[in-house]
Structure formats: structure tokens, C-alpha cells
């Protein structure tokens, strides 16, 4: 599973990091500017949960 954060859409709601801190981290201003990454095995559910929580639809999940 791969995650792409459309960082231009991120508005700092922080819901991704709140729901799934093991997957998503925020910069010092509270925005998600993570480059595309592969989800660690076993963290798939958390990755999906965090993506679904984004009010801006800024997190794209690509399933294998």
C-alpha cells in the first residue's frame, strides 16, 4: 500500500495524525508535507483510517 499526500490540499486539520499517529506526521506548523511513502506492513488499516479522516480529501491511498 502506498500513500500520496496532496500537500497543496492539506489545510492543517491534523485529523490524519490524530487518528493514525503511527502512519502520519505533521510539520512544525501542523501541516502534512510527507513525500509519497509505502505503508509499513501491518499499518494498512491505520493508513486508511487516517486518509478517510481528512476533510480536504488530501490523502490518496494506492492499494497493491
Amino acid at each position: 500500500m502506498k500513500i500520496i499526500v496532496k500537500t497543496e490540499l492539506c489545510q492543517g486539520h491534523a485529523m490524519c495524525a490524530y487518528k493514525s499517529p503511527e502512519v502520519y506526521t505533521l510539520n512544525e506548523h501542523g501541516y502534512n508535507d510527507m513525500p509519497a511513502f509505502d505503508v509499513t506492513l501491518g499499518h494498512e488499516d491505520a493508513a486508511l483510517r487516517g486518509a478517510a479522516a481528512c476533510p480536504e480529501g488530501a490523502i490518496i491511498v494506492i492499494e497493491d
Binding site: 486539520h13 512544525e28 506548523h29 501542523g30 479522516a53 476533510p55
Partner: protein, 400 residues
């Protein structure tokens, strides 16, 4: 009190309603019913009240107005448009300039930084609740809902506690005085108070939010400090946005729990539901009525809007739109769908993480110390509409 403007020639007469958002029929007793009633009418309508403006009533349009800064500007940031200073950073600044102003606040209000304030906010919350707990009753708005967030604001900004009553009084006049001129006068007094403090802090900075915005360099014009014309309205915005919206939300949540004690029981039985409860209660009790200005002549949802037209954007109606949320009137603490209660887009509430923390600490400490509570016998809450939907009076009782 809210002068009626002439209806502009471009507005379709079929879309005109006499609607004063400071005084909506039925809003004093049931603001949710009063506002959601708009969704039975036209998707978008025009009212001559408050200088004349459009009102969007569907969630999709609320989100579009908030997100699409190429069609809807945030300047001016209030209806009527004369009610705010010409520049209120970052609220009234459109992208691309907006982010530089917002970043001045984003550090202070980031989830990481806000988390450091938990112990202090909890201590002041406990002190407030313990101040009236043994009485078995309180007037929630006047004794708690305003005092908690203003104490948080005064600590963030290191203002003397002796100014608290004065700031609360002026804020009340600014937000809810039916006399437009009185509201404007209160706004000017608050700005001049903040301007004085900011000037002192620029000369002798401390480790507080006002010192920070007074001395920080903004990434504009090659890097500069903010001018007083920017700082005073920005300080006023921090006070009003941090105080009134939180107080209103606290009041609406407490009022909801008096009407639905089963939900108090749910939380008493399982505190892990509190964060989900906060999201759901913010979703269903959105408080701000935001303002946008149409940038240029356009057709929107089949309606001709002229450049410079104002649009009222009631966040409450996003959370109550059945096209956005299944059975929106039903409260479900496990609901997962993201909501727009703190807004969406570039101007999303920068203080939302602090607000969430305040709401969580309130519920935790209130449930621990007071538990179940009800409306005082024979009393009714009093609500009000306006720029922020609010609870003016909420008399509560509980077993001591």
C-alpha cells in the same frame, strides 16, 4: 437596527427573502430548527438585510464558498461589510498572501504546541467548576462558558487577569449588541487596547502570543514586521475567534446534554468516546456564520451573482445537510465522516486544535466533578443568532 438595502437590479426577485441573520424567527428557543428550516427553501437566496447579501443553505455550497478563493474572497470578512477593519490578518487575506500571515499563528496553535497547554487549561477549568460545584447550580454561559476560553486567551497573551471583566463586556457588545454603532465602538475600544499592549510587547517582548506577532518577521515585502494597522485587528480577531466560538460551542454542547441525558450517560460510562463525541457535536452544532465576497460577475448554481456581492456562509448548515451526512439530526459519537465544523479550505480555523483541547478538558472535568445535570426547573435556555450562533443563558442544576 439592521438597515434594509435596496435590492440590486441583477437579483432575481423570486430569490429575495426578508432574512436578518441576527434575528431569525424561532432562533431564541431552538436555533438549530430555525436555521435548518432554511434548507426547506431555495438553495441560495438574497436578503436586503444587513447591507444586502446572498445566503447559501446547502453543505456543498458552504464548502465551495469556503474553499474556492478564486471566486469567493474573504475580504471583507464580515456582513455588514463595514463591521470590520479593512484588513484583518489572516482572516481577510486571500491566497497567496494569506499563508504568510497564518504561519505566524500556526506555530502557536499547532497540535504539538497546544498539547503543552493541557495541564494549565485543566487547572483553570477545575478551579472554575469547583467554584460553583457545591452550590448544585450555575448559569453556564456567564459562570463557565466565557470564563474558560478567556482565561486561556489571557494566559496565551499574558494579559492581566484584572482586565478580564472589561474584555468580556466589550466582546459581548461587539458580538451581540443590537445597536450597530455600539458594536462598532466596542470593536474600536478593543483594538486600541490591543494596540497599546502590542506596542509595549514590541518594545519589551515576552514569551507570549502578542509578543510573538509584534516581533515576528513576515515573509512579505522582503521580510518585515507587521504594521499596527495589521496587528490591532489581528489581536482583536484572536480574542473574538478564541472566545466567542468556544463559549458558544461549550454552551450548545451543555445544552444538548440537558436535552439528551442518555448521551451524558454514554460518556460517563466510557470516557474514550469523548474525542468522537466532540467531533460529532461540533459537526452538528457549527457556530460561525462566515462572510465571502463575490470576486467577479459570474453564474453560480444557475444564479447570476455580481462582483462585490456579499455571501453569508452558515457553517451550521453544512453539518445539518442530509446530502453531506446521513440522518444529520441523529447524534452518533462513532460517526466517522469528516465534518466542516471548523471550516474547510485555506481559512480553516487555526485555533481548532486548542478548541478541541478545551472541549475535551471541559467534558472530562465536568463529567468527573458534576456528572449528570439538567436544566434548572422551570427555566429555558436563551439562544441568539448572528456572526456566531450562541447561548446567552443556560441555567443548570445537579445533585451536590
Amino acid at each position: 437596527m439592521n438597515p434594509t438595502a435596496t435590492i440590486p437590479a441583477h437579483v432575481d426577485p423570486a430569490l429575495v427573502r426578508d432574512f436578518d441573520f441576527y434575528n431569525v424567527p424561532g432562533d431564541k428557543t431552538d436555533p438549530n430548527a430555525a436555521w435548518t428550516a432554511l434548507q426547506a427553501g431555495p438553495r441560495i437566496f438574497y436578503t436586503p438585510r444587513n447591507g444586502g447579501h446572498w445566503v447559501v443553505t446547502r453543505g456543498e455550497d458552504v464548502a465551495t464558498c469556503l474553499r474556492d478563493y478564486t471566486r469567493f474572497s474573504s475580504n471583507p470578512s464580515s456582513i455588514p461589510r463595514e463591521f470590520t477593519p479593512p484588513i484583518v490578518p489572516p482572516l481577510s487575506i486571500d491566497p497567496p498572501d494569506h499563508r504568510a500571515y497564518r504561519n505566524m499563528l500556526a506555530l502557536t496553535f499547532s497540535p504539538r504546541n497546544v498539547a503543552k497547554m493541557e495541564a494549565e487549561i485543566r487547572a483553570l477549568t477545575v478551579e472554575l467548576i469547583e467554584g460553583f460545584r457545591a452550590r448544585g447550580e450555575c448559569e453556564f454561559t456567564g459562570e463557565f462558558a466565557f470564563h474558560m476560553p478567556i482565561q486561556v486567551f489571557m494566559r496565551l497573551t499574558n494579559l492581566p487577569d484584572t482586565d478580564r471583566a472589561m474584555l468580556l463586556g466589550l466582546t459581548e457588545d461587539r458580538m451581540r449588541n443590537a445597536d450597530f454603532q455600539a458594536g462598532l465602538a466596542a470593536s474600536m475600544k478593543l483594538q486600541s487596547y490591543i494596540a497599546d499592549i502590542v506596542q509595549q510587547r514590541r518594545a519589551q517582548p515576552g514569551d507570549d502570543l502578542l509578543s510573538h506577532i509584534a516581533t515576528a518577521t513576515i515573509e512579505r515585502d522582503g521580510g518585515r514586521q507587521l504594521t499596527m494597522d495589521e496587528l490591532a485587528p489581528m489581536g482583536l480577531l484572536l480574542l473574538l475567534a478564541g472566545l466567542d466560538t468556544v463559549a458558544s460551542t461549550l454552551g450548545l454542547i451543555a445544552s444538548f446534554l440537558t436535552r439528551n441525558p442518555a448521551y451524558t450517560q454514554i460518556l460517563l460510562n466510557d470516557r474514550t468516546l469523548i474525542p468522537g463525541a466532540i467531533e460529532e457535536l461540533v459537526r452538528s452544532h457549527g457556530v460561525p456564520n462566515l462572510a465571502r465576497r463575490v470576486i467577479a460577475d459570474m453564474e453560480y448554481q444557475g444564479i447570476f451573482m455580481k462582483g462585490d456581492d456579499m455571501v453569508l456562509v452558515p457553517v451550521h448548515l453544512h453539518g445539518q445537510d442530509p446530502e453531506q451526512f446521513d440522518t444529520p439530526a441523529h447524534i452518533d459519537f462513532l460517526r466517522q465522516k469528516p465534518h466542516a465544523g471548523f471550516g474547510v479550505g485555506e481559512h480553516r480555523c487555526v485555533g481548532s486544535h486548542l478548541a478541541r483541547l478545551e472541549l475535551r478538558i471541559f467534558l472530562e472535568e465536568w463529567l468527573d466533578r458534576i456528572g449528570e445535570f439538567t436544566l434548572a426547573p422551570g427555566k429555558q435556555p436563551v439562544y441568539a443568532s448572528g456572526a456566531v450562533l450562541s447561548v446567552l443563558n443556560l441555567p443548570l442544576v445537579w445533585n451536590r
